[in-house]
Amino acid sequence: MISSRRPPLVVVAAATVAVLFFVLPLVGLIRRTAWSTLLDDLTTTDSITALRLSLVCSLSATALSVAFGMPLAWILARVSFPGRALVRGLVLLPLVLPPVVGGVALLTAFSRRGIVGEYLYDWFGIQLTFTTAGAILAETFVALPFFVITVEAGLRSMDRRYEDAATTLGAKPFTVFRRVTLPLIAPAVVAGAVLSWARALGEFGATITFAGNIIGRTQTLPLAVYLQLEANPDVAIALSLVLLAVSLTVIVSLRDRWLGTS
């Protein structure tokens, strides 16, 4: 129940400062935007390249997150095995790990001298660093946890007796998953995919550390923003505005899930 008494003035003041702290940068960004040249700024060759690359990388990272995150979420939610808590902790790690550390860690594993990267290069001639595939890998690293935790929560909160019902009707495990489990947790899957996509789109540290900053190959939107800030601040702000608009859309589209209806 919400107290109807007037809250103490100090509390109100502190809360107002906190809200302003969020609002002022947004106002600043919008105020500094060169609206008259916005369209031109967004359609420079570099901007278009970065936008397109970001879209490709973030959607690929989302696809990878769904493809590998779904089985992982299912196992974490449904299979009890020794070390499950450890695996869950590992999955959550990229959420709190500084992205740049993630990038360094990815280098030690997948660069041409990394544990796996060495063999990828020697045997198949595959190099991940400084390639678009590398940028996708870096984005997947930070995006995957969002999908896994959202879907795992969805799996845990669904009524499993529906799966029992499907089983007694003769459905084999995969049919149960496809025709009952998946439709029932669809909202969680969509939310998880949207979240991981938004996270992938905004990824900076891991990408620049692991994949570098090559226009057209690894320079995604956030990297372009950072680089243009010195040379061409109007373009940087225009691109920032795009990322802000995406974030707002994500928040609005998921508001029922997070903010309730009140």
């Binding site: 029992d164 019902a165 007694t168």
Partner: protein
């Protein structure tokens, strides 16, 4: 095919160990208090709960036998289950819910849809074929659940509290419909319920399950004529006393002595129907009657009769008419004499 299930399984603090057998065309009611393990029995038969020890067979086919390491998974068992709360898939229409079973068992979609349509017709819901379960009433949902369970043409039908989710008025109608559908089903049926009316209306045999064990089993007539546990006695609304018999006298465990119509010996159960007890303000001067002195501890008006709870050497419930209640002027806390003819007491070995 006859279902024979010997089930031993430990779930938390509940140790279950029981055997049930149901012949084709027969309906067995599993009756018991909450937490007795009724649903677990159904889950074990359905293959949703592996058993620790025992053996479940359907006809010649072994479904579960841990000692032989045999366990047929649920999807491979020819069972149809109507779950408590029905568990209709919320994202599928009525027709797709019913077609789910045939589809999952490999029937091509057009044929599965035809089967579903036939069942929808049979349960009288043609107008709702394209509705989602959220739009159905309790009674309609129950019929869809039954149709869904039977659409796979099972040899065994399991019903978990099929009427518990319904309100009193719908329940009577749905019970009658269910009776017709069960009569048309030629496999074995096991129904879990805590309502003796369901058992009475729908089942041929009844098994009483208490704390994981069978405390009584038999036809409905047998069980109602000779209840064996306080739980069954309470379900039937009768008084059940236990004591040690010698000739025409039974010393009840609580200390009273009861005279019976015929000679008994050893551990004896005494069934005293509430309607056979008469109440008096003073002691009667008649032999061949059991007479006890009581205090009235409660009075419940139930339609055209009154149940009077009595406390004394034994605790009994008597049933009298509202007129008698008025004549006696009974109120709670009042002393009263109760008498029962010896020949009105059914006495049988415990």
């Amino acid at each position: 095919m006859t279902l024979s299930a010997e089930i031993a399984v430990t779930l938390g603090t509940l140790e279950m160990d029981l055997t049930v057998e149901v012949r084709p065309g027969e309906v067995l009611a599993l009756l018991g208090p909450n937490g007795a393990g009724k649903t677990t029995v159904l889950r074990a038969i359905a293959g949703l709960q592996p058993i620790d020890r025992g053996r479940i067979t359907l006809g010649e086919r072994v479904l579960d036998d841990p000692s032989e390491r045999i366990f047929i998974r649920s999807e491979g068992r020819p069972v149809g289950v109507v779950f408590q709360d029905y568990l209709l898939f919320p994202h599928l229409t009525v027709r797709d819910n019913i077609a789910f079973g045939p589809r999952a068992r490999g029937v091509p979609k057009p044929l599965a849809d035809t089967t579903a349509a036939e069942w929808i017709d049979r349960v009288g819901l043609t107008h709702l074929a394209r509705s989602k379960p959220s739009g159905l009433s309790g009674g309609e949902a129950q019929r869809v659940a039954l149709a869904r369970a039977l659409a796979t043409d099972p040899q065994l039908l399991l019903l978990d509290e099929p009427l518990a989710a319904l309100d009193v008025t719908t329940r009577a109608t749905v019970r009658r419909d269910l009776r017709l559908h069960l009569a048309g089903f030629d496999g074995a049926t096991v129904m879990v319920t805590h309502d003796p009316l369901d058992a009475l209306a729908l089942a041929d045999h009844v098994v009483i399950l208490e704390s994981g064990s069978v405390t009584q089993a038999g036809t409905i007539a047998e069980v109602t004529a000779r209840p064996r546990t306080p739980y069954v006695a309470e379900l039937l609304g009768v008084n059940l006393l236990r004591g040690s018999g010698d000739g025409h006298q039974v010393s009840v465990d609580s200390g009273a002595t009861v005279t019976t119509g015929h000679a008994v010996s050893g551990e004896t159960l005494l069934l005293v129907r509430p309607s056979s007890i008469s109440l008096h303000v003073q002691r009667l001067d008649i032999s061949a009657r059991n007479q006890w002195h009581f205090t009235v501890t409660g009075i419940d008006l139930l339609g055209d009769h009154v149940r009077v709870r009595l406390s004394g050497e034994v605790d009994l419930v008597a049933e009298i008419t509202p007129a008698a209640l008025g004549e006696l002027g009974l109120v709670e806390g009042m002393p009263v004499w109760a008498s029962v003819k010896a020949t009105d007491i059914a006495a049988y070995p415990a």
